[in-house]
C-alpha cells in the first residue's frame, strides 16, 4: 500500500479517493485506486501512458463517472459506491458545487477559439459568479499580468503560440479562484522551447502556495522542484507515493525504477 | 370522423396508383443514374467545351425547380414535334433533374479514387474510356451507393409532382377521389402514410447498405 508523504498536520484531506475503480467499456483503467491530498499540497502524478493518471483528474473535475469506491472533494461526497455503504451519486447541485472548487488545465488548451483572450477569461466569471463586467475584466488583466500576457487581451487564440495559449488557459482557470487546480500534462503538447514559459507560471503558482495542485506530468525535474509529493501510478493503481527526492532518486519499487529508467533515457 | 368503410373502398384504387408511382420512380432513377454518369464523365473530359457544358447543365438543372422543368418539357416538346405520354414526360423530367444530383455524387466518388490509380492505368496504356470502365468506376461507385440510395428516396418523394401534368399517380388519384366524394381527409392521409412507410423502409435499407458497402476506417 502507498505511504502518505509529508502532510501539513492540521488538515483533513481536501481530496479523498478510496477503492476507486473505473472501466471504459471492457477496459479497466483504475483498479482499487486510493489517494489523499491535503489542502494546499502540491502533488505530481507520474506513470506510463494508460496508467489512468488523466482519468483521476477527469473524475475530480466531474468529467467521468466511477463504478466503485469513494470520491470526496473538500468534504463533499461526489461518489460513494463502496460495499456496505449507501450508494451516493452526484446530483446537479453537488456537481456544480464541486466544479466551483476545482479548476483544470488541459493538455490541448481547449481555449474558446471564437472569443478573444479577454472574453475567454471573463465569460465564466460573469456567467457563473455573476461578476460585473468591469470587475471581471480587471481580474482578467491582473491574471494576464501574472502569466506575462497582459498585451494579448484583445488577441484571439489562433494568434498565439502554444505556450501562450496554455498560459492563457491557466489564467482562465485561475480566474474563478478554485481551491484545487488540476493540470493534465499541460506541457506535453508544446514544442520544447515553449515548455519553459509554462513551467515558470506553474512554479510561480506553486510558490504562492495558496492552491492545492495536482499535476500529471512527464517533467521529472520540475516535479522534483515543485511537488511536496510524487505519486507513481501504473495499471490503474498507486505503486509508490513519497517525497520527490526519494521517489525519483531511490525508488523502492522495481516498476518505478523501470519507468524512470525509460523516461530519463528518452 | 374517419369513415373506415370509405378507406376500404378507396384502398384498391390507391394501390393501383402506387403502381404508377413505383414505375415512375424506378424508370426515373434508371435514367438519372445513366445520364448522371454521362455528365460526370463529360465533366472530366479533356475538351474544355464539353467539360464546361456538362458542368453548366448540371449546375443549372440542380438550381431550378423540377416543377418548372416538368412544365417546360410537357408544353415545349409537342411544339418540337415530340409527343410523349404524360407519364413518359414525367419520367424524363425526373430522370433529367435527378441526373444533376447523381452527377455530383459520381463526381465525389471519382474524386475519392486515389490519383495513383489514374497513373497506373496510364502506364498500362489504357484509353480514357477503358480507364473509367475498368479502373475508376468500379472503385468510385460502391462508396457512393448510399448517397445514390438517398437520392432515390428523394426522387420517390417528388413523384407527386407528376400530378401537375395529369399523371395518375398517388396524389392525383387522391385528389380525384376527394373531389368525387368531397372527402379529402382519408385519401390524402392514406397517401401521406404510404409515402412515410415506404420512405422509412427505403431509408432503413439504405442504411443497411451503407454499413456493408462503405469502408469505415
Amino acid at each position: 500500500m502507498a505511504e502518505a508523504g509529508a502532510t501539513p498536520a492540521s488538515a483533513s484531506p481536501i481530496v479523498r479517493l478510496e477503492g476507486v475503480s473505473k472501466r471504459f467499456g471492457e477496459l479497466a483503467v483504475l483498479r482499487d485506486f486510493a489517494l489523499q491530498v491535503a489542502p494546499r499540497e502540491r502533488i505530481a502524478v507520474i506513470g506510463p501512458s494508460g496508467s489512468g493518471k488523466s482519468t483521476i483528474l477527469r473524475i475530480l473535475m466531474t468529467l467521468e463517472h466511477v463504478q466503485a469506491g469513494l470520491v470526496e472533494v473538500d468534504g463533499e461526497v461526489l461518489w460513494d459506491l463502496r460495499p456496505g455503504h449507501a450508494a451516493r451519486r452526484p446530483d446537479r447541485e453537488r456537481l456544480r458545487s464541486v466544479r466551483g472548487k476545482v479548476g483544470m488545465v488541459f493538455q490541448h488548451f481547449n481555449l474558446f477559439p471564437h472569443m478573444t483572450v479577454m472574453d475567454n477569461l471573463t465569460v465564466a466569471q460573469r456567467q457563473v459568479l455573476a461578476t460585473p463586467r468591469e470587475a471581471a475584466e480587471a481580474r482578467a488583466v491582473e491574471l494576464l499580468q501574472r502569466v506575462g500576457l497582459e498585451d494579448k487581451a484583445a488577441s484571439r487564440p489562433a494568434q498565439l503560440s502554444g505556450g501562450q495559449k496554455q498560459r492563457v488557459a491557466i489564467a482562465r482557470a485561475l480566474a474563478l479562484s478554485p481551491k484545487i487546480m488540476l493540470f493534465d500534462e499541460v506541457t506535453s503538447a508544446l514544442d520544447p522551447e515553449l515548455v519553459g514559459e509554462v513551467l515558470a507560471v506553474l512554479r510561480d503558482l506553486a510558490r504562492a502556495g495558496e492552491t492545492t495542485m495536482i499535476l500529471v506530468t512527464h517533467q521529472m525535474n520540475f516535479a522534483r522542484e515543485v511537488a511536496d509529493r510524487v505519486v507513481f501510478m501504473d495499471e490503474g493503481r498507486v505503486v509508490e507515493d513519497g517525497e520527490p527526492e526519494q521517489i525519483l532518486r531511490e525508488p523502492r519499487q522495481e516498476r518505478t525504477r523501470a519507468f524512470l529508467r525509460a523516461v530519463l533515457e528518452a | 370522423m374517419i369513415d373506415w368503410g370509405y378507406v376500404a373502398a378507396i384502398l384498391p384504387e390507391l394501390v393501383r396508383a402506387l403502381g404508377v408511382t413505383v414505375q415512375a420512380t424506378l424508370l426515373g432513377m434508371v435514367l438519372a443514374l445513366v445520364l448522371g454518369l454521362l455528365w460526370a464523365v463529360l465533366q472530366r473530359s479533356t475538351s474544355r467545351v464539353a467539360a464546361g457544358a456538362a458542368r453548366g447543365i448540371v449546375e443549372f438543372v440542380r438550381s431550378t425547380p423540377i416543377l418548372v422543368q416538368l412544365y417546360f418539357l410537357f408544353y415545349v416538346m409537342p411544339d418540337l414535334g415530340l409527343t410523349l405520354s404524360p407519364l413518359a414526360t414525367g419520367i424524363l423530367a425526373l430522370g433529367l433533374h435527378y441526373s444533376a444530383y447523381t452527377a455530383e455524387i459520381y463526381r465525389a466518388g471519382i474524386e475519392g479514387v486515389p490519383r495513383g490509380q489514374w497513373e497506373a492505368a496510364l502506364a498500362l496504356n489504357l484509353g480514357r474510356l477503358d480507364t473509367f470502365r475498368f479502373v475508376i468506376l468500379p472503385q468510385a461507385i460502391p462508396p457512393v451507393v448510399p448517397a445514390l440510395g438517398n437520392r432515390f428516396i428523394a426522387l420517390f418523394k417528388d413523384t407527386p409532382l407528376l400530378s401537375a401534368i395529369t399523371v395518375l399517380e398517388l396524389l392525383q388519384t387522391a385528389k380525384i377521389l376527394g373531389s368525387e366524394s368531397f372527402r379529402y381527409f382519408e385519401p390524402l392521409t392514406l397517401v401521406g402514410l404510404f409515402f412515410l412507410a415506404l420512405s422509412l423502409l427505403a431509408a432503413w435499407a439504405v442504411q443497411r447498405l451503407e454499413t456493408r458497402l462503405v469502408p469505415h476506417g
Partner: protein, 223 residues
Amino acid sequence: MDLPRPFDLLPLLLDGLATTLVLTLAAAALAAVAALAAGLGRVSRRAWIRAPVRVYVEVFRGTSALVQLFWFYFALPLAGIEIGARTAAILVLGLNTGAYGSEVVRGALRAVPRGQWDASVALNLTRAQALRFVILPQALVAMLPPAGNLLVELLKNTALVSLVTVSDLAFQGQVLRSATLRSGEIFGLTLVLYFAVAAVLTWSLRLLERRVARGRDLGGLRL
C-alpha cells in the same frame, strides 16, 4: 413602353417572383427556428423532448413536400382548422426545410471538439450557458455550407405552392402559358429567373460563411 420579346413577359413574371421571394424568406426564417429547436431537441438529455422531435423530423423528411402542402391545404380545414393558402405554404415549407435543417444542426453540434465541452464543465458553466457561449457559436460555422444548400432547396420547393393556388413565379408562368402559348420563352425565362435567385442566395451565404469564420483558427472543427 413595349418590351421586345421575350422580355415583355417580365412584368407578370416578376410579380410572381416577388411572391416567391417573400415565401422563401418567411419559410427560411421559420425553418431556421425549427431546425435550431429540433437540432437541440435531438441531443437533449430528456427523452420526453427527444421523442416528439424525432417524430417531427421523420414525418416531415419522410413524406413528400407536395403531399404535405395538399394535406395542410385540403385536409386540415376538414378538421376545423382554416388557414389561408399562403400561410399554409409558409408553414409547410418552413417545417419541411426545418426538419432537414435539424440534421444539419445536429451534425454541426457533433463537429465541435469534445474539449470545448470539457473546458465548459471545468469552468462550471451550465449546459445552457455552454451551448450559448461556447458550443453554438462554433457550431454555426459548420452549419452554414449545408444551410446554403437547404436554402436553394427551399427556393425550388416554393414552386410547389403554385399547385395550391398561390400566385408565385411558377403560377404566373402557367397563367401566361394558358394565355399566350409561348411555352418555350415563358418557362425558359422562368428557369433563368430561378437560377439567378439561387445564385444570389448561394453567393450571399458564402459571404456569410467567410465573415463568420474570419480570424478564427477553427481549432480542430471536425468538418
